[in-house]
């Protein structure tokens, strides 16, 4: 573990990503402290530009504080991003592990199932699902999870297929370990590295999907989200460009942080792939 942490500290991209992420998470957790109260409240004159007195990011056409919206919006984005990824991981790992370890007809069936979900245009499916089942936090998280799990399943399956053939797995079989035991203790720990990397990228993708849905009006109306702010600010783009620009930057920074973090993880877990320091 320490060895891993030490190597991660050396990864520049990983550290930048991690630091940014920590800042964002802290911001989201302490949103109520930094900007207490309802972000939908009208608190100032409408259409104030950024860096106005007391309003770092300005106000929108109804006089609402943009900065408050950004900070509270972080909560939703991060929440939905992580929640949907956890669900997608759960489903994907199980499907992939079973398909990759047991092979045969079970593998065939599960793979057809996975392929089906990969064939359907994913963003459209997300739209359809959220539209039909009304936009709530639950439906959004579910919809994003539904379109995100197939790549994980594929990856886990591939890892399991190769690992299953490894001699140390065979040794465990000859030693009489149960199948469940082998999957959990022999195969899975070795399969996790690429999955962890993919997971961090998946959170990033989930946030992008969520913001896209919000932009189209399919976000949960009870909460303020970055995508919604961009969509709302679209009509004012000529006069109050910051209403759309700033929330987008927030999304960009968050997704970038996650990507950098994932890159750092990848560098540490797969040292031979990072070509810049080859011997």
């Amino acid at each position: 573990m320490n060895d891993f942490a030490k190597r991660f500290l050396r990864s520049r991209s990983g550290m930048i990503g991690l630091v940014l992420l920590i800042l964002l998470v802290l911001l989201a957790i302490f949103a109520d402290v930094v900007y207490p109260g309802d972000p939908w409240r009208m608190v100032g004159r409408p259409n104030l530009p950024p860096f106005s007195e007391g309003f770092m990011f300005g106000t929108d056409q109804l006089g609402r504080d943009v900065a408050a919206g950004i900070v509270h919006g972080a909560r939703i984005s991060l929440l939905i991003g992580f929640a949907s990824s956890v669900v997608a991981l759960g489903v994907g790992v199980v499907v992939g592990a079973v398909a990759g370890y047991f092979s045969g007809w079970l593998d065939d069936v599960l793979m057809r199932f996975t392929e089906f979900f990969q064939t359907i245009p994913s963003f459209m499916l997300a739209i359809v699902l959220v539209a039909i089942f009304s936009p709530t936090l639950t439906s959004i998280v579910t919809a994003i999870a539904v379109v995100s799990w197939p790549p994980i399943a594929r990856l886990v399956r591939a890892e399991f297929l190769t690992l299953r053939q490894r001699d140390f797995v065979k040794a465990a079989q000859v030693g009489g370990h149960s199948q469940f035991n082998i999957i959990l203790h022999q195969v899975l720990p070795n399969a996790l590295s690429p999955v962890i990397v993919m997971a961090s990228l998946m959170v990033a993708a989930a946030i992008l999907i969520e913001s896209g849905l919000s932009f189209l009006g399919l976000g949960d109306r009870n909460y303020i989200t970055w995508g919604f702010m961009i969509g709302a600010g679209r009509t004012m783009i000529r006069h109050a460009w910051w209403l759309s620009a700033i929330p987008g930057l927030a999304i960009f920074v968050t997704v970038l942080a996650l990507n950098l973090f994932g890159q750092g993880l990848s560098d540490v877990l797969n040292p031979r792939l990072s070509r810049s320091n080859r011997t």
Binding site: F168, A171, G175, G176, P189, N190, R278, T279
Partner: protein, 550 residues
């Protein structure tokens, strides 16, 4: 005054090759002085880490990133190759010095045909006339013994067998009639029978064209087979050099002595008569297993059926070591795996102490499983990289009910038995060398107190000198614990040293079985005869018994 004809073709003087920072030593090759003469085969022998491959790379000017020639010269004719520009070097490579590599599977471009790959070499070195190129390609393919060159040349590499690909590589190397041919372990990845053919081919070609051949190998048997001169390398230094016959007969350096002794020892069969097989500990009857390759299922009808085991019947006596010898595709691995229940037979029976394993219920089977254990080939893949050694050695015990303290104690005893320190328990596999990992694998197999051990190519992936040590260890353990062993290998030499009886397998069938000495000295089946003949250097070592060496 040395006349032109007697001057060496390549003259290496005080060559040092530096490794990048962080490598396990500063120099891959240090102060090497060596000559390669016209019309001779010089074998450079060494184990992994000797620097022999990098030496070849240095001559070709193809060292990997970070590895550089720090001092010395490589003289080729009147050119000093170490000072050559890249453009000038390109004219030398392929045309005057050519190279053949080890892995025929990956050394050819998969998306170009054989014709295209030879053709481009000719084009690159200025052979303009396409008719001339075409006829030359056909000649070359024919000269290297490839069947039906006219059709084969338009095939892609994946269509060719390993031996054919290597022949194609040799043809490609000879295309521009070079003066020097460097062969970097060209036969190591091939079956022993194919190896013999390729070695013969290389020898013939060398004689016909009076080439200077630099042949890199780790196998002294190969040296005995084809070398005119030998150079032995260890840790980047040249430790011995001379005429092949001289070095093989009277090696001066202890390292050469050790390597030769290891190979020689394996060709001598001094096994005593095998014990009786009245109550065999393992009895295989009519074992059959067929694999269908290619996708099976509703949509596909392309199934290639491969008979891995075809009605195999064998006995292993108590305390006996039975060798299973065969090349790739012989079914020996499948047999070993079926004995430890990793693979289910389609039909046939395996009896352990008279009881049929197939007929046992799950509980009994689970109980007897620890009694037959296995040692795998690849020391780098047989241990879970994320588990400490203590876990590898105690987990199975604990699953079968042994309390942790007792399991640890036994693990320590086993480590002791295989010659490793107790401190190994707290470490991870990557901290150990290949030979050490193999010892841990043996300890793991022994920890459950088995009666029978299947050794599946247990020493094939190890360096020759380490092989000898591990084989000694196995012999010692077998005697002490009165173990029975099923020793699977492709190397008849190794089998002869270790086994009481030997069974020879080919394409799923046992073609011959008998006492080890008998099988080697008086092979009955033609395939066994072929295997015996193919063992490199066998003739030589048989005819040159070892003189007294200190």
């Amino acid at each position: 005054m040395i006349s032109q004809a007697l001057k060496p073709v390549i003259n290496i003087r005080d060559l040092s090759i530096a490794l990048p920072q962080g490598a396990d030593r500063a120099f891959a090759v240090q102060d090497l002085t060596l000559d390669l003469n016209r019309d001779e085969i010089l074998c450079v022998v060494g184990e992994s880490g000797s620097g022999k491959s990098l030496l070849a790379g240095a001559i070709m000017g193809l060292l990997p990133q970070g590895v550089t020639i720090s001092s010395g010269t490589i003289n080729f004719g009147d050119q000093n190759l170490t000072e050559l520009s890249e453009t000038a070097y390109r004219k030398v490579r392929g045309a005057r010095i050519a190279m053949v590599f080890q892995e025929p599977m990956t050394a050819l471009n998969p998306v170009l045909t054989v014709h295209e790959q030879i053709n481009e070499a000719l084009v690159a070195h200025g052979v303009r006339d396409s008719a001339e190129r075409n006829s030359r390609i056909l000649e070359l393919l024919d000269a290297t013994g490839l069947p039906d060159p006219a059709t084969l040349q338009h095939r892609y590499p994946f269509r060719l067998s390993g031996g054919q690909r290597q022949r194609a590589m040799i043809a490609m190397a000879l295309a521009l009639e070079p003066d020097v041919l460097i062969a970097d372990e060209p036969t190591t990845a091939l079956d022993v029978t194919t190896q013999k053919q390729i070695l013969e081919l290389l020898r013939d070609i060398q004689r016909q064209r009076q080439l200077a051949v630099l042949f890199i190998t780790h196998d002294f048997g190969v040296v005995a087979e084809i070398a005119d001169r030998v150079a032995v390398m260890q840790f980047g230094e040249l430790v011995e050099e001379g005429r092949a016959a001289d070095v093989l007969d009277r090696p001066k350096h202890p390292y050469s002595q050790r390597l030769i002794a290891a190979v020689r020892g394996m060709s001598e069969t001094a096994r005593p008569v095998a014990p009786q097989i009245e109550n065999p500990i393992l009895s295989i009857r009519g074992a059959t297993k067929t694999y269908s390759a290619g996708k099976s299922g509703f949509w596909s009808n392309s199934k290639r059926r491969i008979k891995a085991l075809d009605n195999v019947s064998l006995d292993v006596g108590q305390g006996e070591t039975l060798g299973i010898v065969g090349e790739s595709g012989s079914g020996k691995t499948t047999l070993g795996q079926s004995v430890v229940q990793l693979v289910d037979l389609d039909s046939g029976e395996i009896r352990y102490r008279g009881q049929s394993i197939q007929a046992m219920d799950r509980k009994t089977r689970a109980q007897m499983r620890p009694k037959i254990q296995i040692i795998f080939q690849d020391p780098y893949a047989s241990l879970n990289p994320r588990h400490r050694i203590s876990r590898a050695l105690t987990e199975t015990q604990m699953i079968h009910g042994t309390p942790r303290k007792d399991a640890l104690l036994r693990a320590q005893n086993m480590l002791d038995l295989v010659g490793l320190e107790k401190s190994a328990l707290d470490r991870y596999p990557h901290e150990f060398s290949g030979g050490q990992r193999q010892r841990i694998g043996i300890a793991r197999a022994l920890v459950m107190d088995p009666d029978l051990i299947v050794a599946d190519e247990a020493v094939s992936a190890l360096d020759v000198s380490i092989q000898a040590q591990v084989l000694e260890l196995l012999a010692d353990i077998r005697k002490r614990l009165n173990l029975s062993m099923l020793f699977i290998t492709h190397d008849l030499r190794v089998a002869a040293q270790v086994c009481d009886r030997i069974a020879v397998m080919r394409r799923g069938e046992v073609v011959e079985i008998g006492q080890a000495a008998a099988v080697l000295e008086n092979p009955q089946h033609e395939y066994t005869r072929l295997l015996c003949d193919s063992m490199p250097g066998l003739d030589w070592f048989a005819n040159h018994p070892m003189e007294n060496v200190g």
